[in-house]
Each structure stands twice: as C-alpha cells, then as structure tokens.
Amino acid sequence: MQTDHPDPASAIVEPLLAPRDVSVALIARVYAQAIVEAADKANCRDEVVSELKQLADEVLPRVPGLLALLESPRLGTSDKAAVVDRAVNGRVSETTRNTLQVLANHQRLGILPEIVAAVSCEVDRLAGRQQAIITTAQSLDDTQRQGLLAEVERCLGTALAARFTVNPDLLGGLVVRVEDTVYDQSVATGLVRLAERFKQRSIHEIQHRRDRLGSA
C-alpha cells in the first residue's frame, strides 16, 4: 500500500493515510464542516464541493508556487484576499468565493488541499459513505471495479467511497480497507500466516513430543 505522502505541490490529499500534520487535519475538519453547512444553507452543496475540488486538483498543481505564495506569511491577509478576489470573482459561486475570502482572512489558504479533502470526506460522511481503499494485485477494468465494489458494499452492509489501487506485492486476492479496519484476503498475507503457523506448530511438536521428531 502506498504510504508516501503526496508531493505537497500536487495538492492532492489522500484520505485514510496519516496527514502531513495532525493539527492541520483537525483544523481542516472544522473548516470542512462549516463549508458544507454554509453550502447547504445556500442550497448549492454539489456546486461548491466540485468548485473547490477543481481548484485544489486542477488549478493549484497547474500554477507552481501558488500554494507557497498562499502559505507565505509575508503576504498580508488583505493582499491574499485581493489575489483570490481577482482570480475567482465571477467565475465561481458566491459561497465558494466567500469561503476563499474567509480562508484568506484567517491565513488558512495554505491548507486548502487538506480542507478540500476534508470537505469531500464530510460529504461522504453525511451521505453515510465510508472511506475505503481497495487494493488488488492486478489492475481492474471499470466493470470489474463496479462489480467488486457492489459486492464489498453488500458484504459490509454499508456504502463506500472507494478508491482502487494496485499493489503487485499482494500476489493475488484483495485487501479492502474501510476507515481503520483492514479486510485482508491477499495471498501474501495468507502465506505469512501459514509460515507463522508452521513455526508455532513445529516448536510445539519439538517441545512436547521430542521422541517423535528426533532421536538422541
């Protein structure tokens, strides 16, 4: 499973993996809840979420140094607010614009990727979907993915917001991670377990029935 943190410049935050900074993740969660609530009030949740996602996933990686600029304390809050205003005014919804202004005023634009990730988690949470990563040994096509996801959801009895990854080290089978729980039916883990049992059983036999296994 991939454990490396994504390059900050790529600005994509993986759910389920440990955040770069735990306190930032906590702050992001609070902002995310507020953003979703505000969007709901204005009745434009989908719009706001997709706009924020676009900003984080497409705009930020495309402009190198933008995140660093937004993070930098050398640029005052009013300047940042002005930059944001010039960039998005008229192009995004009112709530999104306000959100970015609030972040600029609170010097939180630097954690925009984390906030966007937290927003999508929050949306999934409200919809009753749990975060999941499904890892297989070989890549699957879309129909296989759909079928697999439906089957896993049926087994667990819960809706999932799933991502698919490939890890050839599994050899076969699949590993499903839902929130903090891992359901592992990979061949690699099976072999490890079997090796452990071999070891334990052999030790047990040697200790308890020396006469059977060896001669002095």
């Binding site: 735990v22 906590l26 891992v182 359901y183 592992d184 079997l194 071999f198 036999e205 060896g214």
Partner: protein
C-alpha cells in the same frame, strides 16, 4: 539430538491440510512519529487503553495514551525497527507472559522471551501482565512465616507469607544481598522465587544469576531482566510481568516470593515514558499516577483465603535512596504502600555491621503474627533493647563513668550486635537462629569477648547439631520453646561452655573488657 525429517514433514503437511485461508481482519493505524521507545499513531480508532498493538516485523507495543487524534504507544522491543509510516495493527489482546513450571529456572526478558539460551519456554499457560489484585474477601491475614534466613530480619522484622516488606537504603548498603539471601533460604521451603532486575547493570545481574546458580537456587527461581540498556517501556513493565508469573503459583495454592530490584529505577523509566508522552509532570517530575503504578503492583502480593487455595505471594521491593533521604517522593510512596521496611544505613555498613539494618526505624507491621512461637519468645523485646542500646552507646561515648547496670546493658548490646552480624549467602535455619538469639538475649554471651562471639556461635550451633540432636528435633517439630525444651537448651549451653573452656578455644573474659 537428530531430527527426524519425515516426521517434521508430516507435521507440516497436516498443517497445510488444515489451513483454511480466512479473511484477516485487523484494525490499523499509521506511525506518525517514533523515538525513544514511544510512537504516535494515526488511526487505530477502536483501540483500547492498555491493548497490545503490533508493528511490522513482530515488534509489539502497548496503547498508552488515547488522544483526540492520535494514539501514544510504548514500544516493547526494538524501537529502531519501527519507521514512520509503518502500519500498526491492534490485536484486541492484553499483553501477557508465559507462566507455569516452564519459567522456573529461566532467565527471561519482561515479555517472557528467554535470555539464557536454553530454548523456548514450553508453556501453554499465559497470564495478562496487568491484572487486578485480589479483593478483600479473597484474602486472609498473614500468618505463616517466610524465613529469610537472616537473623536480624527474622528476629526483629519478621516477614510473613503474603507480606510486602520494603528494603530501603543508599547505594552499596547490601539491599540486593538481603533479597538474594532470602531467595537462597527458600531451598527447602518450596517457595517459588522471582527476581526482577530493573534498570541494573547487566554485570550485576550476571553476578546475581551466578550466585543463584552456584547455591542451587536456580532450581526454584526465575530471573526477569530489564537491564539498564533496555528501553524504558520494558523496564516499566518488568515488575508487572514478574508479578504475573509469580501470581500463577499463588492462585494455584502455592507460595511465591518476588524481589523487585529496584522500584526506583522502574519509577524513573515510567517518568521517562510519561514525559515523552507529554503527560503533565508532578513532584520531582514524576507523573501524577506514579503512586498508583507502585500500589497496584504491590497490592497483587497477598495471602489468599483457604477457599482460594491459601496460596501467597510475598514481595520484597527494593528502593534506593540518595544520601539517606527517605522523605523523597518515591521512598515515601513505597513506604506507605508496604507493610514495613528494612532500613539499611551506610555508616552501619562501613562499621562492619552487615546486614546494615537500622533496627530503630525498621519495622514489620504484620509479620509478628507469622513468627514461630519459639522465635517470638526469644526475640521479644530484642528490637527495643537494641534501639535503647544505640542511644545508650551514643551517650556512653561521652566518656563518663558508668554504673554497673548501665555497663552491663552496654555489654549485652555489643554482644547482640555482634551476634546479629551475618555473612552474605549464609542464611541460617530458623532453629539455629532461635538457639543463637536465645544464647544472646539470656546473657550467655556476656562473658565472651566481643570478637569471639561469631566463633562462639558457630561452635555452639555445631555442638547442638552434633551433640544435642534431641534439642534440635524438639525445636524443629514443636517450633515452640516450652519449659522442657528450655531446660534442654540451658543444659546444652552449660555443656558447650564447659567443653569450650576445656579445649581452650575461648577463655572467659572480664565483663566490660571489650
């Protein structure tokens, strides 16, 4: 030993046939940071306090701090193998150690892994390291003696089975020696012994193990080692895991003795962990629950009621003081938890009085009920007399003329002090102790020169063994000093004195000529 490969192959084949690959379900987290024996973990949202967690490579840890957004884990094992980003899995189990007869005679680490190169521990029995102490209804008062074989202790601060007796003193005052002697003396008593070495130099532990082995004590002793180079988490849990192993015998109606050497080092290890975990520091920077860390440990020593088999666990915690400072935090805590303390003093130690026990402030709060009748009879008042002697001695040093009564009290005191000296690794049988102390307290040594007291005693014990066997058997069987036995004893002493004068090995000294 030659292994039969066919049989091994068949065992493995059976295992393959029986193997069903189930889904491996686990709760995981991810290591955020690691260092100095602790790790902070993201995730593990369902982990419980004190639950065992597993790092890749088989290193285990213990959930120590549950925080809002991370879990503080203490790493039991090689923390250098744990990396940032590693997957941590919860096991749903508490930390446990192997127990039972298989651990006897072994040298183990606090997780129950062998350190003596004698192969794995072949025991199917395990006990959780942290368990609740037996409740009030499960206990009964201490009533059987646990003989340490040390005259000064068995006579003046007797220890009963199920008691907690603290051994406290500065460095190099013979604390460990008392613990080791107490273990050596259990050779014929059937008491299982556990020696927990926490934060000690590995060389000292090697010496202790060597002594135990040389005197045949490893046949009934387990040594649990978390040396000075071991990570703090292991030093912290070592006393608990030693207790778990000892408790097994208590709950099975047997008797066990455990020596914690020493708890001040464990407290230091716990302080280190707590500070690294950012728990608030309190007095002397120890965490607020350091008292509970020791009280829950020592409460597990108990004498169980007869319905529960009547087993017992006696503990001898050791605390090292700095410059005799018993009012420091950890010493006062442990003094208040235990049922008495044996206080060792450097000045006595260097004056040649070994064990260097200060009888004035050493006490045993419950052991008196556990003394044998004979010992109680001969040693009653000994502690107070000796304490009074110490005062008198200080006064007499002013060099004034003393009246005859005071002088004779001083002489008696000097001889009792001589009599209570005892070499290391030479525990005495309780009958021998009664004989010696009787001779001393009844004034039979008053005419013996101070420097000849030890010799007189040695000769007397040999004499009784060889020429007054009837007296010994009587004392051994009745464990009491009735009129008839006392008459025999007086006769034996008179006879011994006569023989001693006859052989010229000792001439009666003038009173006071010391």
């Amino acid at each position: 030993m030659k292994f039969n490969t066919d049989e091994i192959a068949s065992v493995l084949r059976e295992e393959i046939d029986r193997y069903q690959s189930g889904i491996d379900v686990r709760e995981v987290g991810q290591v955020l940071e690691v260092g100095d024996g602790i790790a902070r973990v993201w995730g593990l949202s369902g982990v419980m306090a004190g639950e065992m967690v597993e790092f890749p490579g088989g290193v285990t840890g213990l959930a120590f701090n549950l925080e809002e957004n991370s879990v503080g884990v203490i790493i039991l094992g090689d923390y250098l193998k744990v990396n940032e980003g590693d997957e941590v899995r919860s096991t749903g189990q508490l930390l446990s150690v192997p127990v039972g007869d298989a651990v006897i005679g072994r040298v183990l680490d606090p997780l129950g892994n062998p350190l003596d190169g004698k192969g794995p521990i072949a025991s199917d029995l395990r006990r959780p390291v942290e368990t609740l102490a037996p409740g009030v209804a499960d206990r009964q008062p201490v009533r059987e003696p646990l003989q340490t074989g040390i005259k000064a202790i068995d006579a003046m601060t007797p220890i009963g089975r199920g008691q907690r007796e603290l051994i406290i003193g500065d460095r190099k005052t013979g604390k460990t020696a008392i613990g080791i002697d107490a273990i050596l003396n259990q050779k014929h008593s059937g008491v299982k012994c556990f020696y927990v070495a926490v934060g000690q130099k590995d060389s000292s532990v090697a010496v202790a193990v060597d002594v135990l082995r040389r005197y045949g004590a490893m046949n009934y002793t387990t040594v649990i080692v978390a040396g000075a180079s071991t990570a703090a988490p292991l030093q912290y849990i070592a006393p608990y895991s030693g207790t778990a192993m000892a408790e097994h015998f208590m709950y099975n109606g047997q008797h066990a003795l455990i020596v914690y050497d020493d708890l001040s080092k464990q407290a230091t290890a716990y302080r280190q962990l707590s500070l690294l975990m950012r728990r608030p520091p309190g007095r002397e920077a120890y965490p607020g629950d350091v008292f509970y860390a020791h009280s829950r440990l020592l409460e597990r020593s108990a004498k169980l009621s007869d319905e529960h088999g009547g087993g017992s666990l006696t503990s001898l915690p050791i605390i090292e003081t700095l410059e005799g400072e018993v009012s420091a935090y950890i010493p006062t805590n442990v003094i208040s938890i235990t049922d008495g303390q044996i206080y060792l003093q450097p000045d006595l130690f260097f004056a040649g009085q070994r064990p260097a026990m200060n009888v004035g402030i050493s006490v045993s709060r419950v052991g008196g009920a556990a003394q044998t009748k004979a010992m109680k009879k001969v040693s009653g008042g000994l502690r107070l007399d000796l304490a009074a002697f110490r005062e008198l001695e200080a006064f007499a040093q002013l060099g004034t003329d003393l009246d005859a009564a005071t002088q004779s009290r001083l002489d008696r005191g000097y001889r009792m002090v001589e009599l209570l000296k005892q070499g290391q690794y030479q525990p005495l049988d309780v009958v021998d102790q009664v004989l010696s102390i009787y001779a001393g307290t009844r004034g039979h040594l008053d005419e013996v020169k101070r420097e000849e007291v030890a010799d007189w005693e040695k000769g007397f014990l040999t004499f009784v063994r060889e020429q007054a066997a009837e007296l010994r058997t009587r004392l051994e069987e009745t464990k009491a000093l009735d009129d008839e036995t006392e008459r025999l004893l007086e006769a034996a002493i008179a006879e011994y004195k006569r023989q001693r004068v006859g052989t010229g090995s000792g001439s009666p000294a003038l009173a006071g000529a010391n």
